[in-house]
Amino acid sequence: MDNWDLTPARDLTLAGADRHRSYQRESGLLATASRFAWWSMMRLSLAVLHRLEVHGRTNLPESPSFVLVANHASHLDAMVLGATLPLRFRDQLFPLAAGDVFFHTPALAAFSATVLNALPVWRKKVGAHAIQQLRSRLIDEPSVYILFPEGGRTRDGSMRPFKSGIGMMTAGTDVPVVPCHLEGTFEAFPAESYIPRLHKVIVRIGQPRTFEHLENRRPGWDEVSGLLESDVKALAEN
């Protein structure tokens, strides 16, 4: 028999909003049940209200870790990408969400962490340390990140250049990055709108890439973001 291996939760000493905002957060039974209910509801509502169509689902890796990147037009985007994944990934799925929006108040932070399992990205003060923590988590434990490298939602429907954060997380690792293109979410729920409209949404999932051959430095980061940006643009033209 092996020695007993009692490993406490990494976020044991944190409480309340500090715990919800932490990259070290680990989930319990209540969060698992909440996510099962949330993603089941999302899959159903996207299928019924937005006639969700998914192309290239076979390109998704069979098991974590991997990263989904896509163009960003709407708060629906993360929901749409999350709904394309099997429900069994619900506790390993981490949408990276704007900290100043989704983690601003303790109540919002509790919802974003417990139900969405989101991890905060503080856009105005995102530091190398935070990116390093996200990168470590991706490498050390099975995780699926949903990331929008444009850094914010488009205001006119056109795609903006990708930032290098995705490169800082994945350059020099064997973690697959899956480019995706979202169509229809801008029309369904644009940034200025408060209520989603009934509009068809299409997701195109491309071939995953790995970047283990690239150095984890600025040139490698830029190459990662450039390659993924061109992949997403190519999917848009399909």
Binding site: D2, D5, L12
Partner: protein
């Protein structure tokens, strides 16, 4: 009409909080900011705790049972996160279900408390059974043992407080559960505070240095002496006219409360040392987790329940004389 002991305990605790708050304020300029803020945080947490504990007990049997259920669930959550059991979702679901069933069994006194007593072995067996299909024999004993221990201490044992709240017949004198439950909780917390005070002022020889370095023989013995005296005095008042009013039974009740209260704290200390954490949570500023505060309670309720049932003889056992079915509204017995 509330029992005078209930009134005395509530007034005493509230007065104690008021005096300690005034002392902290009075010492504001004589102590450093850090010490002042730490003392104030701890005092504020105590105020919240007293409200959260006393209000349901005073409000009625159902609020008491629901509060115990919530306390059990929160304490189990902390225990599971500290030991790593929270990663075993199926076992945690079974223990949580067991806690809900314990609350139901107490609330409705289902089958004249037979369900309550059956839940100990049944939930334990269910934890074993649900651990089999995952087909992971490595670590099986560890997972199952952690689940069974968690339910035994935090579900079943704490659930006895709910079962006591369904006591409507304590001998011939009165039918109020409140003084008994308030006495039990207050005595256990006082026991901890007295031991802690003596450890800091008079304590020399460590009691169990590997398990809890700050506990001393002086603190342990002092707490036993003072808590036993307090419980004996209060018990004489509460159980007047019943067989428990005999000095032998009363001293036994005091000893049981103090010794098992300290053993409960040492149980949690052992768990914390084993997993290498200082506190099991950060819910209560200045205290750590809820379980850090209520660890003294984990062994006391079942022992007191069965001790009183034995002592009361024909006037008892507790909870089976004329229990009330809160959900279905009919009287058992």
């Amino acid at each position: 009409m509330a029992h005078p002991l209930s009134v005395t305990i509530v007034v005493g605790v509230v007065a104690g909080l008021a005096v300690s708050g005034a002392c902290i304020l009075a010492l504001r300029r004589r102590i450093s900011d850090d010490v002042y803020h730490a003392a104030f945080r701890r005092w504020r947490s105590w105020c919240w705790l007293v409200g959260v504990i006393f209000l349901p007990v005073l409000a009625g049997a159902l609020p008491t049972m629901l509060a115990v259920m919530v306390l059990s669930l929160l304490c189990f959550r902390e225990y599971a996160r500290a030991t790593g059991l929270f990663r075993e979702k199926t076992i945690c679901a079974v223990v949580s279900l067991g806690i809900l069933l314990v609350a139901f069994a107490a609330v409705d006194h289902w089958q004249d408390d037979r369900l309550f007593f059956a839940l100990g072995p049944l939930v334990g067996a269910l934890i074993v059974v649900v651990s089999i299909p995952s087909d992971r024999p490595r670590g099986f004993i560890q997972r199952v043992a952690l689940g069974v221990l968690g339910f035994a201490l935090l579900g079943f044992s704490l659930g006895y407080i709910s079962n006591m709240a369904n006591v409507v017949h304590l001998g011939e004198t009165h039918t109020d559960y409140r003084p008994l439950v308030l006495l039990l909780i207050t005595a256990v917390e006082l026991n901890d505070m007295i031991a802690s005070l003596i450890n800091r002022t008079l304590g020399r020889r460590p009691f169990l240095p590997e398990t809890s370095p700050q506990k001393t023989w002086a603190g342990a013995i002092g707490a036993v002496v003072i808590t036993t005296a307090l419980v004996t005095a209060a018990g004489g008042w509460l159980f007047a006219g019943t067989p428990v009013a005999h000095p032998g039974w009363l001293v036994g009740l005091g000893l049981l409360t103090s010794v098992l209260g300290q053993l409960g704290e040492l149980t949690l200390s052992s768990i914390k040392r084993d997993v290498g954490v200082k506190d099991v949570g950060a819910t209560l500023p200045g205290h750590g987790g809820l379980l850090d505060r209520f660890d003294g309670l984990v062994l006391v309720p079942p022992a007191v329940y069965h001790y009183l049932s034995l002592a009361l003889g024909e006037a008892g056992p507790l909870g089976s004389e004329a229990p009330f079915r809160i959900l279905t509204g009919s009287w058992g017995g």
